[in-house]
């Protein structure tokens, strides 16, 4: 059986009904374990003091904010090429989750920045391109909301997602060129010397897993909601036509 068959809405609903409890459970478990571990049972960093605990929120949410857009990009491509409705609806369902992730990352980053850099916000390349990503999210959601016909909306938002991705990458380079950075480098890459120490590293991984699972659970659930709304709409439309 090919993977595409799950793109049938009914099949998708059935499947997601079965796996959703698992994802919800795992997500909540990982988040609770990871965050409690991080908050209560990790030492303070010698330079950053207790603020290092923010890493358990900031890094996973920032990662998910970016990954959510990538997921939307893939889903949009699938919709454009294969025209599976579930795919378009999944992209629609993921966008608000992505926005909240972005907000969390922005907020925790800003709070972290105040003690670390002495400012809430700096026009650093990573921060700036992240902010632009936030704008793309807003535009994407606004476009979905503004268009009445669902298929038209799916097509147009997909095109926007594609073009937006290209420009997001372009902006990243532009911003890099425009200003030199202040923000942390890649601290998770395993081959680097200055990796985050293990005491911080393992609970961080648990938190990341928690955010990923939460994202999956939310997107599956929200996709189901979108499917139901779309079905309601279809039935109502037919009622009205009668």
């Amino acid at each position: 059986m090919s993977l595409w068959e799950y793109a049938n809405p009914v099949r998708f609903l059935n499947l997601s009904a079965r796996v959703l409890p698992v994802f919800w459970g795992l997500a909540v478990a990982c988040l609770i374990v990871g965050l409690i571990w991080g908050f209560f049972f990790t030492p303070d960093d010698f330079r950053q003091g207790s603020t290092v605990k923010i890493i358990y929120l900031h890094v996973p949410s920032a990662m998910m904010a970016i990954n959510a857009w990538v997921m939307m990009l893939v889903a949009s491509l699938i919709w454009l090429v294969r025209r599976h409705h579930v795919s378009a609806l999944a992209a629609k369902a993921a966008a608000p989750v992505g926005v909240v992730m972005t907000l969390i990352a922005l907020f925790t980053g800003a709070i972290w920045g105040q003690p670390m850099w002495g400012t809430w916000w700096a026009w650093d390349p990573r921060l700036t391109s992240f902010l632009i990503l936030f704008l793309f999210y807003l535009g994407y959601i606004a476009l979905w909301e503004a268009i009445e016909d669902p298929d038209t909306a799916a097509d147009l938002t997909s095109v926007l997602c594609l073009v937006g991705s290209v420009f997001a990458v372009l902006s990243r380079y532009a911003v890099n060129f425009w200003n030199q950075g202040l923000h942390q480098g890649a601290s998770l890459s395993l081959d680097k010397e200055e990796n985050v120490a293990d005491v911080f590293y393992i609970p961080l991984l648990v938190c990341i897993a928690g955010f990923v699972l939460l994202f999956i659970a939310l997107v599956l659930y929200r996709t189901g909601t979108e499917i139901r709304l779309r079905r309601t709409r279809a039935l109502q439309a037919r009622e009205g036509r009668a």
Partner: protein, 51 residues
């Protein structure tokens, strides 16, 4: 409760706001989901009774 030192405000508000945002997201998601389920059931019931 671990001793957060002088950064207590920062750390606590970061955790507070983040969990609030996540919670709101989950609550709104579930509420919208439930409403959608309800609306769909209503419509399906109607379409069955009406023919």
């Amino acid at each position: 409760m671990p001793d957060l030192g002088k950064y207590a405000d920062a750390v606590l508000s970061a955790y507070g706001v983040s969990s609030l945002l996540l919670l709101l997201l989950v609550i709104f998601t579930l509420r919208k989901g439930r409403a959608a389920r309800q609306a769909l059931e209503d419509v399906e019931k109607r379409s069955k009774t009406n023919g």
